[in-house]
Structures are given as structure tokens and as C-alpha cells.
């Protein structure tokens, strides 16, 4: 290996330019830079600009001051940020444990029909938000009455309420719909991690009398922690960039009364405007910049703190 590299380097020195490398890299680099990186930088830049007296000018941090200082903007922003955290926490508390439990059951050796279960449970993940949003809107609708009917079967009809229409329960209901849709992803990633545990480890545990529940908690769970870490960061990025489901279920106003408004819907309304509100490019860029910082903070926390600590569990 080493010798090959040195000969390659030597031949590279002889040939002055290896144009084919550039040819191979150029198309991907050009599209990626032009459509993704430059707009991202440009958006961040525009968060420092605004129109002052009809002139588009550099305004420093004043957009951010408006966002955090102006009572109306601040109320909207903090509301969206808080809702977004609740959205994320519900995913972490419901979606990921269910995903882990399903994966643990599916990975039981010689379980019958496991391929069927896996395929069926993953199906909702492939459906678009539009489909998922409307299906659940219909099911939860008191007009159709499917949800109350089903709850009646198990004697819980008294619990039913038009959850999507109530400010105190709408966010939880929408989050759970999203959990329903996405539970397949943690399930698959954890399932793969479980299959990846060497048989010797499990056999050694069994020889030591560690089986069943305690085997899962003491042996398997520590070994799949890196996969759980990946699932968590994917959930984080996905949730703080979510928009579609809320938009289809509750509309751009993220009602009732802004109770399901998250950063994605706030960005949409701010940038493009909605009904009486006019679109505002600079404030839109400002909100996008804040979202960028939040996601960057989460990803950095994962890469530099969490992933590093987990390294020691890997084989």
C-alpha cells in the first residue's frame, strides 16, 4: 500500500497536471457550490442587511435586535422555538424508544414474519407529508368519527377530543403524527446496529448467565449507543428544519392560535408572507440564520462531544 502511494506520487510529480481529477470533480462541485453553498452564505449575509429609507443597506445586527427586541417578533419567535423544542422532545421521547423496541423485537433470531413486519412498519416513512397529514386529519376529524369509534371499541371514547383543533393538544397531536410517519428510520438504523453485534459477545454473555432483559440493557444497549447517537442527531436536524407536515395539517398559520408554529413555518410566513402579512426578505434571512446556528450547534455538540465519548464502545 505504502509503496503504491509513493510510486503514485512520483508519477504525479512527473506529470505536471492531472486534468482528469478536475474533470471528475467539477460537475458535482459546481452544482453543489452554486445551488447550495453560495445561497446559504448569501442568506446568512442578507440577515445583516435591510431596507433603510428605501435603500438596501448594511444594518449590522439590527435585524436580530428586531427579532429578539420587538415584542411582536419576539413573541412569535420564542413561541416557534419553544414549540420546536417540544416537537423535538416528543420525537426523542416517543419515536426513538418505540424504534428501539421494535428493532430489538425484530432482531430476535429466527423470528417468523420479521421481514413482513419490517416492510409494513417502514411503509409510512415513504409516504409524503401531504398524504400523511391529510389521512390523519380525516381520521382525527370528529365529523368522520373513525377515531372516536375505534376508541369506543376499547371503552375510551370519553377521552376523545378534536385534538388538532385545540391549542393545548394540537402540537402534541401533530408531533405524534410525525412520530407515526418516521418511526421506521430509528427502527432500521438500530436494527442494523443490533445485527452488527458480534455473535461472540452475545454467546459470552449467555455463558455468564446474562439473558433476556438484562442482556438487552447491559450488553446490547451500550453497544448500540453510537447508532442511537446518529438517530438523535438526524432527528434533531430533521425536526428543526421541519415544515411540510405542519403546513399540510394546520396550514401556514400553524393554528390553532399559533400553537403548532415551528421555525420552518415561521420562516415560510416571514419570507413569503401570508394573507395580510407581507413577505420580508431580510427578516426571513434572519430567521434562517438563527435556524442555521441552532442546527450547527446541535451538529457540533454531537460531533465534538457525544460522538467522541462513544468511540470507545465501537469494535
Amino acid at each position: 500500500m505504502k509503496s503504491r502511494e509513493t510510486t503514485m506520487d512520483a508519477s504525479a510529480l512527473k506529470r505536471p497536471r492531472r486534468w482528469h481529477i478536475l474533470v471528475f470533480l467539477l460537475p458535482a462541485l459546481a452544482v453543489y457550490t452554486a445551488v447550495m453553498i453560495l445561497p446559504l452564505i448569501e442568506t446568512l449575509r442578507q440577515s445583516f442587511y435591510n431596507t433603510v429609507d428605501g435603500q438596501y443597506a448594511f444594518v449590522g445586527l439590527s435585524n436580530f435586535k428586531v427579532l429578539f427586541g420587538d415584542p411582536r417578533w419576539a413573541a412569535d419567535f420564542w413561541n416557534a422555538l419553544r414549540n420546536n423544542f417540544v416537537f423535538f422532545l416528543i420525537h426523542m421521547a416517543v419515536q426513538n424508544p418505540i424504534g428501539i423496541a421494535l428493532a430489538a423485537m425484530l432482531s430476535i433470531p429466527k423470528l417468523r414474519f420479521s421481514a413482513f413486519y419490517r416492510t409494513a412498519i417502514f411503509l409510512p416513512t415513504l409516504l409524503s407529508f401531504v398524504i400523511v397529514g391529510f389521512i390523519w386529519k380525516l381520521i382525527l376529524s370528529p365529523i368522520w368519527g373513525v377515531a372516536p369509534y375505534l376508541m369506543d371499541l376499547v371503552g375510551m371514547k370519553w377521552l376523545f377530543a378534536p385534538w388538532l383543533g385545540r391549542p393545548d393538544s394540537a402540537l402534541i397531536a401533530v408531533s405524534l403524527i410525525s412520530v407515526w410517519q418516521y418511526v421506521g428510520i430509528p427502527m432500521m438504523l438500530i436494527y442494523a446496529a443490533l445485527l452488527n453485534i458480534p455473535d461472540e459477545v452475545i454467546e459470552a454473555a449467555e455463558l455468564d448467565g446474562v439473558t433476556g432483559w438484562s442482556q438487552f440493557w447491559k450488553i446490547k444497549l451500550p453497544l448500540i449507543l453510537p447508532a442511537i447517537g446518529i438517530v438523535s442527531i438526524l432527528t434533531f436536524v430533521g425536526n428543526f428544519n421541519a415544515f411540510d407536515l405542519i403546513y399540510t395539517v394546520q396550514g401556514a398559520l400553524a393554528g390553532p392560535d399559533g400553537s403548532t408554529d415551528i421555525l420552518g413555518t415561521l420562516l415560510y410566513r416571514t419570507f413569503f408572507g401570508f394573507q395580510l402579512q407581507l413577505g420580508d426578505r431580510s427578516m426571513g434571512a434572519t430567521i434562517a440564520a438563527i435556524m442555521f446556528l441552532i442546527i450547527l450547534a446541535g451538529v457540533s455538540l454531537y460531533l465534538f462531544v457525544i460522538q467522541r465519548r462513544m468511540r470507545r464502545y465501537q469494535f
Binding site: 462541485l29 452544482v31 452554486a34 446559504l40 409510512p124 415513504l126 409524503s128 407515526w180 413569503f272 434562517a288
Partner: protein
Amino acid sequence: MSKARTSIVRTGAVHAALIAYTLVALFPVFLTIANSFKSRNAIFREPLAIPTPETFSLIGYETVLKQGDFLGYFQNSLVVTVVSIALVLLFGAMAAFALSEYRFRGNTLMGLYLALGIMIPIRLGTVAILQGMVAANLVNTLTALILVYTAQGLPLAVFILSEFMRTVSDDLKNAGRIDGLSEYAIFFRLVLPLVRPAMATVAVFTMIPIWNDLWFPLILAPAETTKTVTLGSQIFIGQFVTNWNAVLSALSLAIFPVLVLYVIFSRQLIRGITAGAVK
């Protein structure tokens, strides 16, 4: 003896739990498709019943096909998805080959730069993307969507494909070089055929978010002629909220292609996800 019995009980409990969750996952889809074939009265009277000869009705589908240009939407979605996937695979494989095959200054840095987009969502640049598309006169064209989705899909494609290309034997490539093949021929004729399974995985990963995306069609191409099926059904359903037959039929039509593709490709898809996660 008692150990065998507890294991039967445990397997039974596991099956019960998995069946229960499978029902939760499939029930909404079943409900939608079953009711889309029923008359309006039957939808409301017995939502859980399977359509019978008395309650069977195609009125919803008739409305959908008459009112909305679903065929056109499908075509748009298909064009956008297929072209984007083709570009992501071609450009992604080329870049992955350059990164995994050659040692050059800035190689690692280039890899990191391209990987940035795996974690940072392209949506955050929407403000400037729209301005750029307006300036380039690409608003309300499928080209705008294709460009955005290609950029969106590239980072993960380069990452996965370069992992796979590192496993292609050096002897094979060097044998090709001795036989006088150019670097391009080595890439297209030797390496690409060998990483075909990885390309399939990338294709599936790229396809799902593109087909299902609502954000960019809504912002970049909301015109009637460029609507994708996701945006089209969103708007159609918004207009026909009270016509339950039409809504359920539109939903079923949107589910159908996904369902068919999934039934055909579920094995590859699941293998791809599990293999990718191991890395």
C-alpha cells in the same frame, strides 16, 4: 420444560406487539384506499367496512381525473425525480471516484466540504436560492427543481459512493492502466459497474425526499404546468376539502406509485439502509 414454555409465551408476546404496531402503521393507508372506492353515504355510515357491490363507487376518482391534471403532475414529478437522480448518481460517482482514487492536495478538505451538506439542510438557503432562480429566469421551471434536488442529493451520494469505491481492487484498475485505458475509461468501464449496488442504495435515498418534497415546488415552481404530484394533491385537496370522495381518491392516487415501487424494491431499500448504517 418450563423454560420452553416461557420462551413460547415470550415469542407470543413479541408477535402480539409487532402485529399491533403493524396494524397501527398500515391502518390509515388501508382506511384511505378502502374508502376511496365507496359512495359518499357509505364513507360516513361505515368508515371501517370494505367496499361491497352496493357501496362501491368510483365517483371520487372521476372528480379527481376531471378536475385536476393529475397525469400532468405525475409527469412533472417523474421528470424531476428521474433527472435529478441521474445527475446525482453521475456527478456524485465522478466526484467520489476523484476523492477515493487520487491523492492530490486538498483531497481531505474537499471531502469535508462536500460532506457539509449532509447535515446542513439546503432549505436554509431558500431566500437566496429563490433570488438566484429569479435572476436566472428559472422560476416555474422544472430545471430549477432539478438543480436544487441535485445539489441536495450530492453530499450523501459522494459520501456513500466513495466509501464503496475504496473497496474496488487496485489491481484491477492498474491492470486497466497497463492495458492503456484512460482514467475516464477506467471509471466508466471498470469502476461504475462494480459499484452498481451502492448506486441503487443512493438512488433510493435520493428519490424519497425528492418525490415527497413540498417546500421547493411550493416556492420555486407553483405554476399549474410545473406542479409536482405532492404539491398538486396538496392544492387539489385544499380546494375539495368537503368532497370526501375526491379527497380520498386523490390521496389513494398519490399513495399508489409509492406503494407499487415499495413492493418491488423494499428488499433492496431495506438492505441498503441496513448496509449503509453499518458503516
